[in-house]
């Protein structure tokens, strides 16, 4: 049905009506007092959202642009880095690091499994000469729905004492608790079309004082993504290059909505949505890709066996106008992913699960009790 699309993919995510209205505002000058006063509010609220006193720098870029900035500003060609890779975006960290001439040591895990924190510990403890300049990790792996144990990995990095910790928080920021200052994370990259509840087009990078020290000697060439220029401009609530003013106005509105809900409210909502989705999927007899103990509360990957996942996606789109994401790379056709981050409510989960049940029945899957998924999800919502 035209205009009935329901976005249940892990980005772009649904956008509230008041944010969409803000998007339609007539552009205005990015060197004006009006823009600076909006940026002042946005910068303040971004710090709140990131639980940090460090600068949160706003780039005109996709999340990958923010990830690139997180590397090229703090490292030099030949620097040794430990990179965790257990999905599409971990693999992207490896590609990015190699593209800029870093000496990459990959700590890999199967897609769908969390990174083994002990492997990080071993490598870091063994590095008595302090050759490892950075540990680079994906927090919530969007491609698999796995949440890596960043807190533990970070603890080993802190024990090492020298290495920076650089984090992809693209699907975790604004969805999953990430206490940047409490943990002492050095560089955290994210993108606007996820937990921020606004359309794609902005990237964000948070930089610790220790990372700014590394910036002083980092030798990878850079200009557009040179964070020093963004820091200088940010201090004046400005931007070194023309920012997408409409997206910034949208961000202003979205951050106000997030503040009204509160961080605890946001994180616990995502936990409820995730738990309800997982319990429902289990009740429907469909295997989950990520184990319970390492489940991202932003996205759930399902690996059906007796029905084809791309067929489920095609039918749920056609019959119920629900967009689910497919698998990436070698998981293509093997999984489907339900995004439940950002502007997603309990009702959205019930809509998705009930539609999924209808699709499974239409596809002749009779191994579950009709209504079991919705019942399981409802039970989670009733309990929490």
């Amino acid at each position: 049905m035209e205009d009935k699309l329901m976005l249940m993919i892990p980005g772009p995510t649904p956008v509230p009506e008041q944010v969409l209205s803000a998007m339609a505002k007539h552009p205005f000058g990015h060197r004006s007092g009006e823009f600076s006063s909006i940026m002042a509010e946005v910068n303040q609220n971004l710090k709140w959202l990131h639980q940090t006193e460090n600068e949160v720098l706003t780039l005109t870029a996709s999340g990958t642009g923010a990830m690139e900035a997180a590397i090229i500003n703090f490292l030099s060609p030949g620097d040794r880095v430990l990179v965790g890779s257990n999905g599409k975006f971990g693999a992207r960290w490896v590609e990015l690091s190699e593209a800029f001439g870093l000496e990459v040591e990959t700590i890999a895990a199967d897609w769908g499994k969390p990174l083994d924190t002990e492997q990080f510990q071993q490598q870091l403890v063994a590095d008595t000469e302090k050759k490892i300049k950075a540990v680079i990790v994906t927090h919530s792996e969007t491609s698999t729905g796995v949440l890596n144990d960043l807190e533990t990995i970070n603890r080993y990095v802190k024990d090492h004492g020298e290495a920076l910790i650089i984090v992809d928080a693209v699907t975790s920021l604004g969805a999953i608790n990430l206490p940047i200052d409490t943990w002492g994370l050095d560089v955290v990259a994210s993108g606007s079309q996820k937990g921020y509840m606004i359309p794609p087009g902005l990237g964000f990078v948070v930089v610790s004082p220790k990372a700014w020290q590394a910036y002083q000697t980092a030798k990878i060439p850079r200009f557009y993504l040179d964070l020093g220029a963004y820091k200088k401009a940010s201090a004046k609530n400005s931007n070194p290059f023309t920012p997408p003013v409409n997206l910034v106005v949208a961000l202003q509105v979205a951050l106000r909505m997030m503040q009204a809900e509160g961080l605890d409210g946001i994180f616990s909502r995502h936990q409820r949505l995730s738990k309800a989705t997982r319990e429902a999927v289990k009740a429907l007899g469909l295997p989950l890709l990520a184990p319970d103990h390492a489940a991202s509360t932003a996205v759930t990957a399902v690996a059906p066996v007796s029905v084809e996942s791309d067929q489920i996606r095609a039918v749920i789109k056609k019959r119920f106008d629900i967009a689910l994401a497919g698998g990436q790379d070698h998981l293509k056709g093997k999984i489907f992913r339900i995004g439940h981050l950002g502007f997603v409510s309990e009702r959205d989960i019930l809509s998705t699960i009930s539609s999924l049940e209808a699709v499974l029945q239409e596809l002749g899957e009779d191994s579950f009790t009709p209504g079991a998924g919705v019942t399981a999800a409802s039970r989670v919502f009733a309990q929490s």
Copy 2:
């Protein structure tokens, strides 16, 4: 008056109502069939706008990001380049080239004067060993309102035979005739918030087959702005990273409007707006920064003597809600700039000139005949 802002700066530029409405569309998946079919139309129409059969690649970036992509994909550290610099954006080409380790030979002119094409000829003719790998030029210099003689410079580059020509068309694309294929321009960068009539957030780069050959051996490291990835994705009407889907939908609408007006219509409208603005400013006795023979039809810089330009800007903003741009760097406080590119009509020029007259009178400037500016502009409109 609230919500009465009239944007007469050289970017962001005014955006049509139907484009703003498109901006407020709910995001949808960038890996969907819907998005591909929009990109297919957009890619086709971008080629039409650029007068080229080459790929027009769309980046999530400010214009500076597109400029950076235009350099790092086709050159290697140590490559010798000739860079024209006669304003803020020519200076940016120099900074960019130096940031990536190029050996820069700058051909400079005073801000407000066009580049001397003969200096390019001399350097290119003298380069019998073909050491010059690229000539890098700003077409319309936004900071001064000067239009450089790109056609002549390009002819010398073609006589040289080896060097690529790399062009900043940020304020000329969609405003000033730039026949990319007829002239054989190799790399042309631009940004969405100018002639495209949409808000900032997208950068564009057009790449010739000769430039793609240079790409094969170019050694500056790159990932987010690696145009090879964009080319590959573009062939499938896709994008390597999450694009700002709302801006792409806005672009679709804007390009349809531009096609309805036609290239000739668009370029001649900009010529009329520019001529009327310049004649009006002359009639008011205010000096123009750029000479008539090198005037950009996208933006006009005015260098008032007996009244302060920043005072003019402040009063016209306060009294009439018209935003004019100031000077940049050493021209700060010395000029004001009237942007007349993109979604700007003859009425907008009359509004601006009549308001400017009122402001000059309020500021006690009595050296012009009241009404002279509006009369001069009207005369241009009547004649053309």
